[in-house]
């Protein structure tokens, strides 16, 4: 995985995991790899990997079963919530960038509509 330089690495890996969850590559309730395996999968150190699970847990995305490991949430509601959240972030960036180029809302809507018909 390529990392964006200025964003903390744990946030970038968290986003990557969230995307896999949204796309169904990780199923609700599925067990996640151990922190050591996660570290090797993403080439990060094990402390970063542990932090990723801790933060995901704080956001209610995964939970630990003592002695068994880390599992993702079974709640499909939670997963669609994450999806909305990530979509909103993309849209916010889009709007911000487009506004920076001098587009107003009707123009943006028009451009998107045109893309659809193509």
């Amino acid at each position: 995985m390529d990392y964006d330089s200025s964003v903390p690495i744990y946030l970038q890996v968290m986003d990557a995991i969230k995307k896999q969850l949204i796309l169904g590559k990780i199923r609700p309730g599925e067990q996640l790899p151990s922190t050591r395996t996660l570290a090797l999968d993403y080439d990060v150190n094990t402390n970063t990997a542990a932090r990723i699970y801790k933060e995901l847990e704080l956001q209610g995305i995964c939970f630990t079963k003592r002695g068994l490991g880390t599992f993702v949430t079974e709640s499909t509601e939670k997963i669609s919530e994450i999806k909305d959240e990530m979509a909103n972030k993309v849209i916010d960036t889009f709007i911000q960038e487009m506004s920076g180029l001098g587009y107003n809302y009707p123009d943006m809507v028009k451009i998107i509509k045109e893309k659809e018909t193509k």
Binding site: Y3, S5, S6, V7, P8, I9, Y10, R36, A39, L40, D43, V44, N45, T46, N47, T48
Partner: protein
Amino acid sequence: MSILQVQNLSKAFGNKYAVRNVNLALTAGKIYGLVGPNGSGKSTLMKMIAGLFYPNSGSIMIMNQKLNIESKEHVSYMSTEPYFYNYMSIKTVGDFHADFYKDFDMNEYIRLIQFMELDMSMKVNNLSSGMAAKLKIAANLSRKTKLYMLDEPLNGIDLVARKKIISAIIEKSNDDNIMMISSHLIEEMEKILDEVIFIKNGDVVLLGECEKIREEHKKSIADLYLEVYANA
């Protein structure tokens, strides 16, 4: 747990300081990056900790013990220079280490040699520079010790092999040990580092947790490196 403590450490060659008044306190369970351009004092600092250079002043404590023959056993130091004899095979290199270090784990060595895609029967003489570098790392990581110091482990190594070496370092690091890695290849290293130590003209100029530094400065360690050393 404090593994390494360095206080007011200085070393001069002639009237030029290679390391000046360095203070470090490194705790177990972390990967530390020692970064700086050529000639900034990285290797001199490592060599003093390994007991190969005698400091002009200051002290080094390993596992709360002054650096001596006993406490030196906790250090696995990999120098940049190749130090194997040409007549040796990869197997002899393992036996050689096993004779020198009682914490050398031959099974681990066999595993790492396989992982690095080397072969026990290869002769040191016939190894490419990349292979020799991989062998050096395998030999040093096969010890079961507290402080691993790897001086430029990625030097002269192709991308695929670099990935292997980085994986081996991640695998080896645990809650009881420290990895101290010097490198110019910051971009490659920064994602695996917990903390970074910037050294410039023998002085430690910046020291801290990588994620915090990234957040505070809003840039990567690699970009910050360029900034710190732009006028060096």
